[in-house]
Amino acid sequence: MAIAQFVVNGLLVGALFAAVAVGFALIWGVVDIINLAHGEMVMLGGYTAYWLLSIATGTAEGSVLLFLATLPVVVVVLFVVGYALQRALVSRVIGTDIFLTLLVTFGISIAIQQLAIQAWTANPRSIQVAFADPSLIVAGLVVPKMKLVAFFGAIILTAILYLFLQRTRTGRAIRAVSQNPEAAALVGIDVEHTRAVTFGISSAVAGGAGAFIATILNIEPQMGLIYTLKSFVIVVFGGVGSIPGALTGGLLLGTVEELTAGLVSSRWTLAVSFTLLIVLLVVKPQGLFGTEAEE
């Protein structure tokens, strides 16, 4: 199989990793939280879409349009979940030690995971989208349709987020809080609210990505961890807090993994990504798009 095909495969799933990681990068950079429950937001997004479709059609199958129609609901639901988590729990340990936020989110992560198992069993699930088959063949390259939709979906989610941060007042407030919360309060920003909004947005984007993941891969209560881990890697590729960085990082990670799978062996994919992570950190500690001022 051609290298080009590996790259295409990589980009197609990479966009999803990217959409997941974007949210992770955002709260890490802004609220200074390593959100270990981020993968669970992806999971919850996937389940929300799954159940919405089940309610609408009786089975978790539907047309593309029907599926896309669930997205706004998913995004809103996950926004609320994220906002509430931040307000109710995480905010209580912010500004102390970054590792406390880590523990709280760790607690949230296992609690959500286990509750999800209780609610939905550990069985993996996937959404069947009717139009998905068969694949497009472009210049000899196989491009599954639904993956293409997910690819653009993920890119669009990321782009909206980026524009939001750059262009809107809330976006500016979010950036201000990330750089100096005390000063942000000084200029009239409601820091707590802003942090919660950030958490909400991050969860919403992750949830949106989760919905796409449910259509092209599958979802299960314990799926979160690997997405959290990949987000770590991607954030390093791109630089903490950088949206374009996370997007590029996600695409890059997908590509590297599929190239490894194609050219070497898929058993080495994770070993290669994690080693690359360390190498990159050493060579370019600020990430490809890092903006953090040097200390």
């Binding site: 199989m1 978790a60 993996p124 699930r125 996937s126 998905a132 196989v142 194609g262 062996s265 994770l270």
Partner: protein, 394 residues
């Protein structure tokens, strides 16, 4: 002796009780399978008690009691659960956990404390190659999981010449793949794709592309339900048109078919138990009664894990009935020396290494009427639909 067998709990109304205890994957990745064992254990024990309990060889009648804890498939948790059951709860008869990686350390606890452990959830041959005399397994060992699949395929008209293997890189799946490779070599087939992938892999496109490009005749996926779903969903989009495809674990569950819908048609899976057979059973009467009991009581169709679970209990019961005096050692010896006895799972007896001698049957999801046993022909309900139709023709 037998200090675990007098009703310490004292809650069992009249008479003595024997307590069976174990750890199981009740949460975590394997919770769905763990549940099959738990339900089968519980149902069987309840029925035995309803029928008056176990008439042990020592002349007394005992009620059975079960303590089952959750290890969420974590070996270290499981170990300490068994320690606790033995030391704290005074349990002498151990029900094995699920998954080889957990069973192996657990079997060491059993050996160390000299308590017999009967298990229906760990299939790695390693468990039985340690010279451990306290462990008994009811599943065919992992290296046998894929063999019948090749036997079946080779019997077909346009027999396969090339094989693709995709294997998850956990102990169990790797051992299954090893067994398959051995078989493939024996039969003179050619392996054209042989790839392992990490458990965390969520996308098989590149590997399936490889299978397509190498024109493999048949495909074997050594992995769990999650990857079987991905396989079913991605075979079409990657244009993989093989004559047969089998997934080793989880491909026969209803939940698998429910998730993948028509994409799951024609996929094969192995089972150590023929749900349509009718083996005699002292508790339920026969296999069909067992199936009916589980369907009625728990609202799902049992599979081989369930049946193996039933046989775990019966293995102990059979031993209790044949010893003169209850106690871990006599019971262990009784299990080892038992003549074959019939259960819903089939005839049970253990080889010198403690493992049952059993081969896999092959079942296939057929568009109509659904899941069918297709191999071996002696028990087949239908002929395999082989080769499976190209995607363009479905």
């Amino acid at each position: 002796a037998g200090n675990g067998s007098d009703g310490e709990g004292g809650d069992g109304g009249g008479g003595d009780t024997i307590t069976l205890g174990g750890s199981m994957s009740l949460t975590g990745d394997n919770a769905d399978l763990g549940r099959l064992y738990r339900d089968a254990y519980q149902e069987t024990i309840d029925r035995i008690n309803e029928n008056g309990g176990v008439e042990a060889g020592d002349g007394n009648t005992y009620e059975l009691e079960m303590v089952l804890r959750d290890d969420s498939t974590d070996a270290s948790t499981s170990r300490s659960i068994y320690q606790e059951l033995i030391d704290r709860e005074g349990i002498d008869y151990l029900l094995g956990p699920y998954a080889s990686s957990v069973t192996l350390p657990a079997s060491a606890v059993a050996a160390e404390n000299e308590k017999p452990m009967v298990e229906g959830g760990g299939a790695s041959p390693e468990i039985f190659s340690q010279g451990n005399e306290w462990i008994f397994g009811l599943l065919p060992t992992a290296n046998k999981y894929a063999k019948s699949y090749f036997d079946m395929a080779l019997e077909q008209d346009s027999a396969p010449e090339t094989v693709a293997i995709l294997a998850e890189d956990d102990t169990f799946s790797q051992t299954t793949a090893d067994g398959a490779r051995e078989k493939i070599e024996e039969e003179g087939l050619e392996i054209v794709v042989d790839e392992s992938f990490p458990t965390e892999t969520s996308d098989l496109s590149t590997n399936l592309g490889r299978v397509r490009d190498n024109d493999a005749d048949i495909l074997l996926l050594c992995a769990h339900q999650q990857h079987n779903i991905i396989l079913a969903n991605q075979m079409e989009s990657q244009g993989v048109n093989v004559d047969a495809a089998m997934g080793t674990v989880g491909s026969l569950n209803e939940s698998f078919k429910g998730e993948v819908g028509a994409n799951g048609d024609y996929i094969y899976g192995p089972t150590s138990w023929d749900i349509n057979a009718n083996f005699e059973d002292p508790v339920y009467g026969g296999t069909q009664d067992f199936v009916a009991a589980i369907e009625e009581g728990y609202d799902y169709t049992p599979d081989y894990h369930s049946a193996a679970g039933e046989a775990v209990i019966l293995t102990f019961v059979n031993a209790f009935e044949s010893v003169d005096e209850l106690g871990p050692t006599p019971v262990r010896n009784a299990i080892r020396d038992a003549d074959p006895f019939s259960t819903v799972y089939g005839d049970v007896s253990f080889g010198d290494n403690g493992v049952i001698d059993k081969n896999m049957l092959i079942r296939q999801w057929q568009p109509d009427p659904g899941l069918q046993t297709v191999y071996p022909s002696s028990v087949a309900q239908a002929d395999p639909l082989y080769p499976m139709p190209d995607w363009s023709e479905r």
